[in-house]
């Protein structure tokens, strides 16, 4: 029971840090910090609330395989978006516009 309360306090602390650090202009560090804190919170929930720490290895494997598969998608699909060069035609607007709605309802 005591361990659960401690974990909860840790989660609250991490929440406070992420919320208040977001208000500070830290550039790319904001994003890194937010992601790191989210990961830390998730690990706390996974290990202590969901008891992955004292489960059989198979359950940890299930969790890891699903996360790995998701990561795979992010990396390989992301690789396409990052390495693609978008060439705009001269008449194409630099930005999309909500005015260009070709859907049947707009006709």
């Amino acid at each position: 029971m005591k361990r659960l309360i401690e974990v909860w306090l840790g989660l609250m602390l991490l929440l406070a840090i992420s919320t208040f650090s977001a208000l500070l202009p830290l550039g790319i560090l904001n994003t890194i910090l937010n992601v790191a804190i989210a990961v830390a919170k998730s690990l706390l929930v996974l290990m202590y609330f969901m008891q992955l720490r004292r489960s059989i290895a198979l359950l940890r494997l299930v969790a890891m395989v699903s996360l790995l598969t998701l990561t795979l998608f992010f990396v390989l699909a992301g690789a396409d978006f990052i390495t693609r060069t978008i060439e705009r035609a001269p008449w194409q607007a630099a930005q999309p516009s909500v005015a260009e709605d070709y859907s049947p309802a707009a006709r």
Binding site: L58, V65, S66, T69, L72, F73, L76, A77, A79, D80, F81, I82, T83, R84, T85, Q95, P96, S97, V98, E100, D101, Y102, S103, P104, A105, A106
Partner: protein, 546 residues
């Protein structure tokens, strides 16, 4: 056969003294079937609904081949043709191929093969079937209201912005069937991990169980991506937002990445169980142990893993970055390696075996030959330069039909014949079965081999008209389709006939190894009178005397 001998046959079954009533006699009302938690009855529920959908999808294909008999548009117009090929794709992929072997034969045979009384979650199993049937009803409703014309791939922005057909109704149907798949996958995974008979370690499992297990992992990991993609598409269609619409800041390739991330592993959902079936049938009718059992098991896992890495090969010409295309091309070549290992090992299993050409064996051999062919052309398609030339042509159509029809459907029929005695307690007529298998093999090749040539010569897919130069090959293909149709109708006929008039089957008509053959035919509701010991090695066929 007279009514008297029918009654005698039925009474002979019932009169067997020390035997419990089979699962078929465990309740005769329709409700006893529709509310059953028995994996064997649920398998039959699936078999009936899957067969119905197969013939609906096949009818769409028949109409398409009829139109393609001549170069002009004389049977249907372009819009109707679009709806036909969409219906054919949606129904055949999601309502037939994906559930076919896992939900029918996985459901029936897997618990028996591992010596269990049922799956881990029997009620979830029944829910799976209801989800499948419910989703199917949505799809039929969309069909009756006129269908969809987007192609089974639902590419945006056509499906999200411009199509004015019943897209959302169809998406709903596919979504619900997807949940059925996920539930089935979870059920099989837990069953294989926790309900194996004592002594049955992983490397004593029949390869069919390995195949269903790997398929279930793919079902659980890939299907949710389809579900969310279809939901996003539906939201986009309803709210006119632009995640997949470039005019509104979105990207159609985002849809394609999401869609193919599921749909490529999906084709392995279709083929892995078929490979598992081949690995059961071939050792049995060659009277030989599987060659390289461990390699076969690892190849199954290898195929499942690599299947998640190759989806971009469906997008080589859609605007994907050249670097991503190169990576996907390389990875696609890699997936051929474990598949080839399996083909080599089946061949090695046959070598110096004592082969009998029963109907299941004919289907299994046909599977190996046609899968090999289809897989080979997959390598052609994985080469970037070749793909630029043949993508979106009939070459691709031929490739995937060789694998899905020549491979998966033949394996499905092989499984049906192999386990028919165990499921129904009856023997089917062997001569008719062999004839049907040969007709299907011939009809299949006549239908789809010309399509390779058509595609290479440039005939695009999803077109209802073509230049007159292509007519000869199209006529051959349509003629083949007619023969194939006869071939598929034959099993429907004689298998149903055998349910009432077939000879009662002994417990193990093939002399096959495997725990499912060590219980009564048909099995009692609780599968085994005494839970078996699982420590015998699989494929216990005695080696030949030299």
């Amino acid at each position: 056969m007279s009514a008297h001998s029918d009654a005698a046959a039925v009474n002979a079954d019932r009169a067997a003294p020390a035997r419990a009533a089979s699962y078929l006699h465990d309740g005769y009302t329709l409700w006893s079937w529709l509310s059953s938690r028995d994996h064997k009855r649920i398998a039959i529920l699936y078999a009936v609904s899957i067969t119905a959908f197969f013939f609906i999808g096949a009818t769409a294909a028949a109409l398409m081949r009829l139109e393609l008999f001549t170069p002009g548009a004389d049977v249907v117009d372009a819009d109707t043709y679009n709806r036909l090929f969409t219906a054919h794709g949606v129904i055949m992929v999601w309502m037939f191929l994906i559930p076919s072997i896992p939900s029918v034969f996985g459901n029936f045979a897997l618990p028996l093969m591992i010596g269990a009384r049922d799956l881990a979650f029997p009620r979830l199993n029944l829910l799976s079937w209801y989800l499948y049937a419910g989703g199917g009803l949505f799809t039929i409703a969309a069909l009756l209201l006129g269908g969809v014309d987007t192609g089974w791939t639902f590419y945006t922005p056509y499906s999200s912005v411009f199509s004015n057909t019943h897209v959302i109704l169809t998406l709903a149907g596919v979504l619900i069937v997807g949940f059925s798949s996920i539930a089935t996958g979870v059920n099989f995974i837990v069953t294989v991990h926790t309900l194996r008979a004592p002594g049955m370690g992983w490397f004593k499992l029949p390869l069919f169980v390995w195949a269903i297990y790997a398929t279930s992992v793919i079902l659980v990991l890939a299907t949710p991506v389809l579900a969310i993609t279809l939901l996003l598409l539906a939201a986009e269609r309803v709210f006119h937002v632009g995640l997949f619409n470039p005019a509104l800041g979105g990207d159609p390739l985002l849809f394609q990445h999401l869609f193919w991330f599921y749909s490529h592993p999906a084709v392995y959902i279709m083929i892995l169980p078929a490979m598992g079936v081949a690995s059961e049938i071939i050792p049995c009718f060659a009277r030989k142990r599987v060659f390289g059992y461990r390699f076969m098991a690892f190849a199954i896992i290898g195929i499942a893993v690599i299947s998640f890495l190759v989806w971009g090969h469906h997008m080589f010409v859609s605007g994907q970055s050249a670097y991503a295309s190169m990576v996907f091309s390389l990875l696609s070549f890699m997936v051929a390696v474990p598949s080839a290992i399996k083909v080599f090992n089946w061949t090695a299993t046959l070598y110096k075996g004592s082969i009998s050409f029963t109907a299941p064996m004919l289907y299994a051999l046909g599977f190996v030959v046609l899968f090999l062919q289809g897989g080979l052309t997959g390598l052609f398609l994985a080469s970037l330069s070749v793909d630029v030339h043949v993508t979106d042509t009939y070459f691709v159509v031929a490739h995937f039909h060789y694998i899905m029809v020549g491979g998966a459907v033949m394996a499905y029929l092989g499984a049906a014949h192999y386990w028919w005695p165990k499921i129904t307690g009856r023997l089917y007529p062997e001569s008719w079965a062999r004839l049907a298998a040969l007709i299907i093999f011939a009809g299949f090749n006549l239908t789809f081999f010309p399509q390779y040539l058509l595609g290479y010569e440039g005939m695009p897919r999803r077109y209802h008209t073509y230049p007159p130069d292509f007519q000869v090959l199209n006529v051959l293909s349509s003629a083949g389709a007619a023969i194939l149709a006869v071939g598929y109708l034959l099993p429907l006929g004689y298998l149903l006939w055998s349910c009432l008039h077939g000879r009662p089957a002994p417990d193990n008509p093939w002399g096959a190894s495997g725990l499912e053959w060590k219980t009564a035919t048909p099995p009692p509701q609780h599968n085994f009178d005494r839970l078996p010991d699982g420590s015998d090695p699989p494929y216990d066929y005695p080696p030949l005397q030299e």
